[in-house]
Symmetry: D2
Subunit: 446 residues, 4 copies
């Protein structure tokens, strides 16, 4: 469930990716940078905060920190640094998220029960692994570098996925504490009344036979491959995301009470879960507030709505007279848009207010495709033509989630910028709300 599962290790893949790997020195430097980000994300947290798993879909910060280190120990050091000793014999078991055979890893929902090793020991584990990787890279000959650099590349992408999850998982945990404490302090943003939401406009796309998928230049996951042609009908894509103000209108028109707006399974979920608003929303003194990583604050109308499930995104679109885009409509529109926006690197950890649509003043495309919130598409997560699950660990970890999940595109305020690209496919079940997920509308072109 979710992007954490996409990581793959397979010799063919590695060899094929090898040519794209960065030079070793640059890689060593980037390794340091990426690993430091993880630790910086943990810095505001106590040992208690890092310990607890607030639901089965989430993992403790401590586990994220151990697991990402285990990845390098397991797939690089154990395989290619023969002298290196394992930091602790039980860590392979404790921090393995992989599905090898029955009994070889702890059940996901019990990760939070592992109070030992303590956080201090996991941080020591990180330093141990970092030191060994640095040494290995420094001393590797050409041939060894050609082998290990692509694996390290994968490990860094894997770690970036977990950086996003550290933020979404800790948000879920802290949101349940009645003390309402923030993860980090942030200045209050503009309030709803201060800024007007710019009108929603649509860009028009001709469609036709277009290319989608990743071409293999640079890093990609295999669910993005291979690059292939599809036939797109003409369509229109909104120039910005749906805002809280717009979503509130849906709520005020009884959006959560009208079964005709919902998918059948969505309505069942609304009834079972008692959904009446996006996740983390609550009413205080008659006004909607939301728990953010900066604490509880009033819902701001000009911000993109976030923490909505696929079901809510779909119901909103139906209510609004539009629909969600397909993942290929999104990718086609994003093909030439630079990857900038309110991403993890901004340190804001919350969607930023939408701006007046760029298209009206000559901007070549829609705003906010990258960052702020992942955008639900109407595309079930399915394999691309030519995708056949290969044998081995890789085969176990790619196609196996291609069932009953929907594709999201574009990254969020918790996604590292260096992790994204136009072809990147994130995926979650239709019920998922704890990710920074939002809505961009589409329409058929007339």
């Amino acid at each position: 469930m979710g992007i954490t599962h996409m990581t793959t290790i397979h010799s063919t893949t590695l060899r094929r990716s090898a040519v794209h790997a960065a030079p070793p020195d640059e890689l060593a430097q980037r390794y340091q940078q990426v690993r430091r980000v993880t630790e910086q994300l943990g810095a505001p947290l106590s040992p208690e905060d890092c310990q607890v798993q607030s639901m089965a879909d989430c993992s403790p910060t401590k586990w994220h920190m151990g697991h990402t280190s285990w990845f390098f120990e397991q797939f690089v050091l154990a395989a290619y640094a023969p002298g290196a000793e394992r930091f602790h014999p039980a860590f392979a078991y404790l921090f393995n998220s992989y599905y090898n055979a029955a009994g070889t890893r702890i059940a996901r929902p019990t990760r939070g029960l592992m109070t030992r090793p303590p956080l201090t020991l996991v941080l020591a584990y990180r330093r141990h692994v970092d030191h060994a990787i640095a040494q290995l890279l420094a001393n590797a000959n050409e041939s060894l570098r050609a082998t290990i650099c692509p694996i390290i590349e994968i490990g860094l992408n894997h770690e970036q996925q977990h950086q996003e999850l550290i933020l979404t998982d800790i948000k879920h945990l802290l949101s349940q504490n009645p003390l309402d404490q923030p993860y980090v302090d942030h200045p209050q943003p503009a309030r709803s009344g201060d800024v007007a939401v710019p009108p929603l406009t649509f860009g028009e796309y001709e469609g036709g036979v277009v290319w989608v998928g990743h071409d293999g230049e640079g890093f990609s996951y295999d669910n993005e491959r291979s690059r292939h042609r599809i036939l797109l009908q003409p369509y229109r894509l909104a120039d910005r995301a749906v805002t809280n103000e717009e979503y509130l209108a849906f709520m005020e028109e009884d959006g959560y009470l009208r079964p005709e707006l919902w998918l059948d399974a969505g309505w069942a979920t609304v009834c079972e879960q008692g959904w009446l608003a996006p996740l983390y929303w609550r009413q205080l003194d008659g006004a909607w507030h939301q728990y953010t990583l900066g604490g509880v604050r009033p819902v701001v109308g000009v911000e993109p709505v976030t923490h909505v499930s696929y079901f809510e995104a779909d119901a909103y679109a139906r209510w609004a007279g539009g629909r969600l885009p397909t993942e290929f409509e999104w990718e086609h529109a994003a093909a030439n848009v630079p990857i900038t926006g309110n991403l993890l690197d901004s340190g804001h950890y919350h969607p930023a207010p939408v701006k007046a649509a760029g298209r009206s003043n000559g901007d070549p495309g829609p705003q906010g495709l990258y960052g702020d919130t992942w955008e639900w598409t109407q595309s079930h997560y399915s394999p691309y033509p030519g995708f056949i699950a290969p044998p081995g660990a890789l085969g176990e970890y790619n196609g196996k989630f291609m069932c009953n999940q929907f594709v999201l595109r574009g990254g969020s305020c918790a996604t590292p910028a260096a992790h994204l690209r136009a072809t990147y496919r994130n995926f979650w079940p239709a019920t998922t709300r704890f990710q920074f997920s939002g809505i961009r509308l589409a329409e058929d072109a007339p």
Copy 2:
């Protein structure tokens, strides 16, 4: 869940479909024919058999009989035969499967609790409705005919869907009775050893930009529309379905015990449900048998495997080194294949042995595309381009199931022949096994 939900009533649809309606006399005759089939399907059953609902996904035969009659009473007689009295004031409530508003219909899983009205009264209800429809058709002027004929047309297609469900639902019920009694008696088919399974061959298709979907000539459901172009990669499609003998090889190679062959959600289901074979299979005296509508008999190797879920179909395909076709690959291959085969009309109610593939001796296409078993495709059930849920009852009943279901194509031994076409989209969740669902393999063309 399933084809029973696809029925739609919407004035626009009706008007649009009107031109395709058969002449009234022909329609009156066909009405009689279709309705009689339903009653013939119920004939071998006792009042007790017709009463019970063996699981939430199934409905009692008595309910199917009442519900299909209610359709004509509700949408034809109540609207266009002003003099006609309702047979019973509570039947609109008891036999409505529609989702109008909270509280207006009985919960689906409790249909089997309604021991009253008894079967005899429901059969009287059928006769009452049939009589009134016949009179209405006989006396209608041109204008009224133009209005009601398309609705009756829908009603007949709706009834045909329920004919298939009567068979699958009663099979599920009777299979649980330790008396192992048949629904109808049938001669034993050829036993496994008697006939050799012909070798599996593949037909090759060039792909390219092709048309899919229904063009609006004749009856169709709106999930088949509109007709549009897509781009198909070259592919190969098996000339026949996977047989029991082949599926047994999968089982003997521990297919149900190897997680690497399964989708993640599929493996979870296998473990939870303890699946070790297709539904209705059991071991007797060391040999696999299966409950059929003709009673319990040995599994016959040359018959297509049936009552497998999407998860099993997908795992089998992975084990066999192939994959499932997309729904468009299937539709493209079927475009010019005549709709013949082992369908409900044959009265066999069980898949027939596969024959030597036609292609080798000049036959223009694959065998068994229609009938025997529905064939799982790898396509999630999603809307076609241009599909927007319209307002009203129609809007409630089309797109609302387009989530977490997979498309099946081709009909089964329980599907009326007149109900099928190349563009017909059946859909069920990936866990479903009580339908006559089977497997046809596909591959990428080299």
Copy 3:
């Protein structure tokens, strides 16, 4: 769960009970009488009514009819009538409620799925068994009579238990049908306003060392044995049951909304199940009605409240400033009270209005101890001193329910009069509401 499980077959028991058995001719006659009652109870029901199981705690009427016949076939005919053939080889499996070993009986919640054999065949089974028993009794010599009469005695008590269950189970089924049809037609009783509820008075009992339990003269179940002495504190017992009018006062004072009135587990049940009134109560046009075996009618104030769980009885008592009696307080008070009242034999199948308490006009004891409703006691169902589960089938079927159930005393309007005695212990879990269970208050004597 419940009285259906108390039946026991054990050679020691049988021999010990033999001396109390009625003479064979009288027994043959009584056999006929008891068996006819069962069939009369089924007479108003259709094959569909007799087929369905509305929840796991209930059984179909057809099953009750088959199971009670199987009892005689299994324990009398199969053992002592060597010539007698089994009516059908599979019936031992289909109608066995006993727990011999894994896999030898159908799971209780699936009894309603067995649409075959049909009701007609089960009725033929009854006639077959009755004929064989009559012949066996007629031809048995002294020694055989001494053996089989006590078993037949048990079988008749067993059948009487199932007569009560036929009524409670069919009530549960029919109550869920929106047609609200009665099981039998009955004249409307006096309405609430017509008759005043007589004031609640209490009888006083000195307590002390008293005898409780069955002395072995005549039939008894072993959970009533052995007779032993206990020490009772002085207590007071209400002269009549709690009425609907009194219970409505509890409801109007927010009885179902105040956690302080409830046992912890009771409050959890109230919240989970959304209980707001006794089972079968509903509001129509602003007034409380209840489904009875005579159809839906207004709640009558002077009738004893019924279909309340232990939790509701306990909460009511707390609200009323009293408590429930212990089973020994009840038994001591009932010791010399004749077994008369509104029992199954009256054919009313619903509690009758309470009368002015007898005590005021010289009557030696409380009214309504027997019949109308079973009365919850505060006593957990536990073994009497000296009770040790014996080996064999008997051991399996006595002590095994002595956990987390409460004792009820006195029988109901669905209990055959001949089945009751002062020492009779019925028992159900604290959540049970589908039995005719009601409330009698007690207090400590000052």
Copy 4:
């Protein structure tokens, strides 16, 4: 559920208990002692260990520490030390286990999610409360002392209950960690083969009319009151507890596989939970080991079996041809036995080997009644005669658990010695295994 709920606060109780309170100086000293024990129990634990709740029945150590302090703040300081400020306004909410009204406390199963306040702050809270209580006691006049001392007395008993729970809850948590680390290091005890289990002998008791319950001299909970007479049949009580060696014989004779040995609900639990041995037992290299608070070690035959449910205790007794004692048989036998044994104060935290029965060498009674393990009785937890739930908080917290629980007697290796008495009634549901619960057999006297 369990002893943590028995605490009561009620003005009448307090006033009634006041005469038994210790002198203030002595109380101040004892306050210090009891509170220090709690902190000593937490000393071996990390912040992570103190944070996690391993199942709903358990609570985090941090919560136990906060909750016991809140008790004194809420019921003593807030009421009688007007100047004292609350340490933190939210702590009343976070650390309240009481059931006042909906929404005023956090749901029990989510206690472990409260990562804030951190452990350091909770320890500061303890010091703050301790300081304020010490000052209040030092400065109180006679009248105030008469008021607060009984409340403090209750608070200390309450804290002792939580000391036991700290040990049982942390054991449950650490037992799930694959690192198998001990809570504290302990020397290995004698191994099974080294010491012979002394033969099991029984003491005989005449029974008759005897007194049970607490007489009100010194502290007691109200479920122990009032003292009253009952009539006991003659009985025999085992001179020592059942040992692991004896329990292993039960296991080796397929005790967990034979339904006839189990209560019906017990067998259902065995099947659902897959029980095959007591909690914390596991097989390593073909030998049974158990997780103890000293780590994993071989099961020692001469130690009392512990961590068995009521169901297991009952099944064992049936297998052994005996039964469990009633709570009154136990209390009567224990009436004159001094309260010594392997209790929390010994710091061993694990049952000690049984010794040769005392009775043979002139000892007046059975050994090991106090300490080692709580002993399941066959008595459902029910009110004593005269018990009526009083109004107010007290009423909410006494009778409300008297449903579907069984009484245990005698304390365990985790119970403070000063907390116990012969009349003390512990209670848990029949499924509970995480307490130190064991088995002592009884029999009817001939």
